[in-house]
Structures are given as C-alpha cells and as structure tokens.
Symmetry: C2
Subunit: 380 residues, 2 copies
C-alpha cells in the first residue's frame, strides 16, 4: 500500500463573506503587499477597489500588478517579480483565477531576486534571498491553486506550459469566498467546472490500487461538481451551488483529494497543456475536447474504475456515456477542430506533451507521442 504523505500548511478560510478576513490576516503577515490580479474582471466587479481599501484600512500598503493574462507567461511573472523587489513587498496577494494565483506564486520566487522564473522551472536556480509570503484569493472555481504548491507557467518563446512545484507556493492563508464567483459568466464557469471534474476523474480513473478513503472523497467531490455546475448555469447567482463548486475546486487538485493514497495521475492535463501553450485557448476547453477520447483510450485497462465512476457519481452504468451527456448538458461538448487547433501541427503538439509532462509515463496504458497524436486526431 506504500507510504503516503499529507502536508498542507495553508490556513484555509472558506465561506460566503470570508473576504472580510483578508485585511486582518494580511496585517499579521506584513505591512507592504503586492496585489497581483488579472485586471478587467476584478476592476469591473469593484472587488479590486474593495480589497485595496480593506488592506489599507488594516495598515497594509498596497502596490498593484494587474497585468496577468490567462495561461500566464514567464515574462509576466518576471515583470511582477521585479515590481515585488522594487516595492520591497513582504507579501504577495493573488486575487483572481488559476492564472492569477499561479502568477502570484511565480512572483514570490522571482521576487526573491535570484533569477528569472524559467530558471526555477528548469531547476537551474535555487532560492537565496528572502521570499515574500503568499495569500491567495480565488475568484473562480477551477484550478484549486489555493490549496497546493504547484504553479503552471508558460514560456511563450518555446510554447512550453510547465508545472513548477515549490514549498514557497503554499499560501500562508487562502481565502475562498464563493461570493466572488457569483459574477462569473456562464462560459468560464463551465470551463472551471470541467477543470475541477478532470482533476478528480483523471486521478480516480487511472488509480491502480485504489483506497477506500481516497475514492470516497473523490466520489463526493465529483458528485458535487456534476450536480452543481448545471444548477449554476441555470441560475448564475445560486450561492449554494456556487459554494459547492468552490469546495470541490479547493479540494480537487490538493492533497485532500488523495488523502488516503492510491490515486493515479493527471495525464489528461499533461496532454492538454500543449494546446493552451501553443494556441492560448482556455484550459477548460482543451480538457473538455479531449476528455471523452482520453477516457476511451484508458477504458481497456481500467474498466472497473469507469463502472464505479458511472455508478457512484452519475447513478448510471456507463461512466463514459454519462460524462459525455454531462459535457453536453453544460455546453462543453467540444472538438479540437472548432478550437482552432491546426491538424498538421498535432505531431509537434504530441512531442511537446511528452517533453513537458514527464508523468505521462505513469499512465496505465502506454501514452507516447504516437498515442497522443492519435488521441488528438480522434478528438479533432
């Protein structure tokens, strides 16, 4: 059964209205903060102004870096890192979706002054200077970055979208306030829901020696996503359903979901990353387009896991058909062709997947460049 580790030193404050805790929590950590955000959406909802005001009222001076794009780039992270250093920020606050939170993570490392973030990705740099502390405030239920120590960063020169893990990427505090997701429009809400479902389903379906505990947690969380997402899409301000999506998001890509050990690997994520790394498409769209074929490819070696998925999560016999019907229901039945991916580039993308996602070799059925290219083709 092997040895399992759980370590998550982040204080998680969860619930409708919890954003009010940000000022007092930040104050305990430092007096100079760099607030990292993705601009437009935050400003529009008035959240940025409110947060800034709260922080200053708590004696925390705030600089703002609002240049984070989706699929955040190494160059953006380095720019944020320079600003953090220049402002002598003791604290970096990431307020936004997964891209913003991952950029904020990168900025604490880049802000320590040793080198550009890509040197860390390539394991060429180690931390020397002091590293600012991190607070994360997700505004989208999707990545779950608030409860793990990973960040996904894209090198736009090489189109590599890579995962970087660091102990400095554990937030000191994460504030998960589902109220912040109420204004998120349908499409990004559905993209986020698919991302959550995939975090769980990939680990669940590829597990070789499943654990009762891990299965129980994952089945619970998948059911929460599967049931809540359509309800949110029916009524975007359904706070109860939004709250369930936020919880599922926070635990899906975190040590909670794999608490009992025995989990598999996120190989669909590895196969998707080149798509958003080359074409800058929404990560959730890429996942949705690939999910059914990734399932069909995996089914022959994990049949009984797919039956469990069907029975325990969808109350249906066939996990793949149930998933496809759910994707259709939430408006996410997509094909790679319609996302603008070029047919003649599939081989290059498959090679990139193998290079940037070394964990693909743990997939229970051989997932080499040829298999990935075929998977892309079948999803086209």
């Amino acid at each position: 059964m092997g040895i399992t580790r759980f370590y998550l030193p982040t204080k998680i404050i969860f619930g409708s209205g919890s954003l009010a805790r940000l000022g007092p929590e930040a104050r305990k950590i430092g007096r100079k903060a760099l607030l990292v955000t993705g601009a437009a959406s935050m400003r529009r909802a008035g959240v940025l102004d409110r947060v800034r005001g709260d922080l200053e009222a708590n004696g925390v001076r705030v600089s703002v870096f609002d240049r984070v794009e989706s699929n955040p780039r190494a160059s953006t992270v380095d720019e944020g890192g320079r600003l953090a250093r220049q402002e002598k920020a003791e604290l970096v606050i990431g307020l936004g979706g997964g891209s913003t939170m991952d950029a904020a993570k990168g900025i604490v490392l880049a802000g320590s002054g040793t080198g550009p973030i890509w040197d860390y990705v390539e394991a060429k740099a180690t931390v020397k200077g002091p590293v600012p502390s991190l607070i994360l405030v997700p505004t989208v239920a999707a990545s779950g970055s608030e409860a793990n120590s990973g960040a996904v960063i894209t090198n736009w020169d090489t189109h590599e979208k890579r995962v970087l893990n660091s102990p400095y990427f554990f937030a000191r505090v994460s504030i998960v306030d589902p109220d912040l997701t109420l204004t998120l429009p349908e499409r990004p809400t559905a993209q986020g829901g698919v991302d959550i479902f995939c975090h769980l389903a990939e680990c669940y379906l590829t597990a070789g020696k499943p654990s009762l505990l891990t299965d129980g947690i994952m089945e619970t969380a998948m059911r929460m996503v599967v049931e809540s997402l359509p309800r949110v899409l029916d009524r975007l301000d359904n706070i109860e359903a939004r709250t369930r999506l936020s919880w599922a998001s926070t635990i899906a890509c975190s040590p909670f979901a794999t608490l009992g050990g025995g989990a598999g690997v996120m190989t669909l994520h590895g196969v998707e990353h080149p798509l958003s790394g080359y074409y800058d498409i929404a990560h959730g769209d890429g996942l949705a387009a690939l999910l059914p074929e990734w399932m069909r490819y995996t089914f022959p070696v994990r049949g009984e896991r797919f039956s469990s998925l069907g029975r325990k999560v969808f109350d249906e016999a066939d996990g793949i058909l149930a998933t496809e019907r759910w994707l259709e229901r939430v408006g996410m039945k997509l094909r790679l062709g319609s996302l603008g991916i070029d047919l003649e580039r599939l081989e290059e993308l498959a090679d990139c997947a193998v290079r940037t996602a070394p964990w693909l070799k743990y997939h229970p059925r051989v997932l080499d460049a040829a298999a990935i290219k075929q998977l892309y083709k079948n999803s086209y």
Copy 2:
C-alpha cells in the same frame, strides 16, 4: 452556511513501514529528544528499543519518560514537563495511544516552564519560555490525537477530565504506521474502534445544516470503521483492515472530517468523560455503554440523520439498531452497571459533565444535568 476554517500544519507520514522515517524527521528538528511512552506495551513489542536506536543512530540524544497511565493525569504531565526542562529537550516524541500522545502534548507546554499544566487548562497561564517541538507516533487506532491540536487531561484530585486546545499541540510531524497496531490485543482494538466511530457519528448525527462534503468524508470513514473492525477482530494481524482503521482514526477527530463545515458536536464524549475521570475505566468502554441511549435521546430532533447513517454506512434502514448490532458483533455491547459505576453517584457525574464540557449546550436537544443523569440511568 457560515465560514469554515481548515488549518493543520502537521506533516503526516502514513503507511506500513513509515516508522523508519522517525529518525531522519526528528534529526531535522532537534538533537535532544524526550521520548514519552506508556511503558509496558511498547517495551514488550521491542518498539521502544528500536525507536531509541534509530533516533540515536540519527544523532538525536534520547531521554525516556515511560510513566504515562491511561486517562493521563495532570501530575504525570507536570512530572514529564520537569524532565523535559531538566534534559533541555528540543523535541518531545509521543509514542503510544491517545493517552500517551495527549500527555506528550501536555509535556511540551508544561516543559516551557511557565506553570503546571492545569493552569493552562484553567486559562491561568500563558506561554513564556520556548516550547519544545512535537512528534507523534500513534500505536493504537483510536484518538486521532496525531492530527489535531487538542489534549484530554485528567485532574485526579477533582476527577475532572478536561479538553485543552493549543497551537503548540499540532505535531510538526506525525508518523502513522499501522504495523505498530498489529500487536494490539482484541479488547483495546475494539475500544479504539468505538472511539473512532463515535468521533464521527457524534458530529454526523447532531449536524444541523449538513454539508455534502463533510457528510461524504464522514460516511466514508464510518464505513471504513464499521467494516474493518470486525475483520481485525477475526484476524488481529490483518494489515489491510488495520490500515483502514488507522486512516479512519487519523481523520475522524481532525479538521479533515469536518472539512466542508456543517458538523455537529461531540456531546457523547462530553457525557462520557466523567466516567473515565472518576472510575478510570477505558474511554471506549464508557462510550460504548452510553452510545445507544445517547442516540435514542438525540433521535427525535435529528431523525433524518439517523436514516442517512443507516442507509449510507450500514446499508440498513434503522441507524440505531444497526449500531447496536455492530456493537454486539465487536463485543462492545456494555452497560454502565457492569463497568463498576455506582448508581448513587450518577447525579455527581452528571454535574461534572455539565461543568467540564461546556459544549454540551450545543446539543440539538437540551442536555442538562437532569437529562444526562437520565441518560446514565437508562444505560445502567
């Protein structure tokens, strides 16, 4: 839905064989350790000698305090605290069951030198000196003390068994090796299993606004206990079933079990504590004797929770009957009378419960001294 917090900064290393990690982990924390244990059982299995050897081989000097009794007393904790101070221990390692781990927790506070532990229980003392770090190694699946910041300590002069919470009671590292439970005889194994079940069932059954996530985790963990305990009793060295019991133990009385919020209160524990505080009986025996009547008393205000318990955990319609049958199956169908409790002392015990467990006021049906006395009587 309110605001929920999760905070558990302990690194948990779980699995068969994980005890081998103790030496290297201890070495990272300090070079002088006080090893706290309950004597006989540990020596018998040769575990104490092995642990001591491993620590010294990793450059950690070890003093041993092996005087912890069950229902650990404040006087014992103070004695251990004096030894920790005298030996200038940077690290306290609790190796044993819940009593030993809770004593080790008390010893880190008492070892800081500010005052006797009961002053902390009565909130008369605050930490001034440096506090040694804590490592916990459970050898019994029961209390779950390795994953929370509480300790239960008994004042034998007043017979008060009280719960003390402190941020210093979070272990830096907890090593949960189910191999260590393999030599535990039937009776304490069953007592531990009942303790785990009660940690979960009390919170589950008294919940007012249940959360899907919390329910899912608790139902999974309860099912693990309900199914695994009889298997372990059939064959004491069944490592797979022992492993499930250990996992259930680690999460039951921890922030994991209540992750999604909405959990109720451990009022059966509050009602039991005077029994083991006065009579020094095994905590698990007291819980088992009181559980059916505590359920009957709670049923009228939480009927639907009992149906869920029956359906989701036992695959039966009636949660109370199912629980009683399970207690019988694991040899834990007990009465207070046969545990040596005096009939004429029930009023004094009920008064003590109200005094020492202030959270009884949150029980969903009035649980005052008169109600508790009646509950004792019905369980006699």
